[in-house]
Symmetry: C2
Subunit: 196 residues, 2 copies
């Protein structure tokens, strides 16, 4: 097991309905040392890429993406989920459905912060049905920028998102891929990965 799988086994909690709670270290309370380790690991995995920007989506992606951007020495941009009166002017917009909240959101990035030719690494905490990630990818492509890859902390391998995005030809690196969870026993089965 790598450091992420170990942490999930140690502190993650499996709940009914295929819910994996990681709120004690990832998406409510954040272990900053872990964030730094995640940043270093994505730098290692995408070391062959000349990343110029890290893109994520609010809210839980922000803390992770910030430490990835720090490793690459580039700015981080976080997409916003609904139109704010403070966002104006030209924006890239994609519509995505939230698995967690069961509603639709507009995902928005100001055109000022994504330029043609930029080499973008997309970061998010979870990949499940892939809707948020598809929204971010479509925004990068709209800008004429290049999706160099997607870095995911936890992929739910039993949902369709990872397969869909990889089948589209994008490189997806997930620190942990959960292939099965059992809410009764708490057992988590990870996919064996070469690079992990």
């Amino acid at each position: 097991m790598n450091f992420m799988e170990e942490r999930i086994v140690k502190d993650g909690i499996v709940k009914a309905g295929n819910v994996l709670k990681v709120d004690s270290f990832l998406n409510h309370q954040m272990d900053i040392g872990l964030m730094e380790e995640i940043g270093r690991e994505f730098k290692r995995r995408f070391a062959d890429k000349q990343i110029t920007k890290v893109l994520t989506i609010e809210a839980s992606g922000i803390g992770i993406a910030a430490f990835v951007a720090r490793e690459f020495g580039v700015p981080m941009v976080f997409a916003k989920k609904s139109k704010s009166i403070n966002i104006e002017g030209d924006m890239y917009v994609a519509e995505v459905e939230s698995f967690t909240h069961g509603n639709k959101n507009q995902v928005i990035v100001s055109k000022k912060f994504l330029n043609a030719g930029e080499r973008v690494l997309i970061i998010d905490d979870f990949l499940a049905n892939g809707c948020a990630l598809q929204g971010l990818i479509s925004i990068v492509e709209s800008a004429g920028a290049i999706v160099e890859g997607c870095g995911i902390v936890i992929e739910k391998g039993f949902q369709i998102g990872g397969r869909v995005i990889r089948n589209m030809g994008y490189r997806v690196e997930s620190l942990a891929i959960v292939d099965a969870m059992d809410a009764e026993t708490g057992k988590i089965t990870f996919r064996v990965q070469e690079n992990a």
Copy 2:
């Protein structure tokens, strides 16, 4: 001028309606080097406090609070703005009104991540009418924890929040206090601060 005031003058944009856009470096695109500098500066200002946790609110507070927490070597917790199906069990809840979005939100922190006696530093990007900050303070007090102070990146000194919170007896450190803005000339007037 300190580093924050200088950056606001350089890259902030004053819009009609007392809107200060800092989305190129603070709350849409994030300059990670600046985040690190903000982290170090709050560590310096609250060096006399034994902080055990940094608390903020999603979304734009997260990136800032993460680097403050890194300086103190403590975990960061971000309050969530609406009830998610992934949050369950006992939660501290406060109701706050958003100046930016003009709506009311429930601010939620899981009871697991705030314990009695903890020494909390609250961090946010903006302080305007102070509703979000009051919500976070009320949550910390509900937990029996101690508000050691509030660290704000940009305070709108012409709005009531800073005065209300300081009058309640809390220590508020703002890296930049904007006392006036002129959308026509773009001129920003900062309050002169001793510690800045």
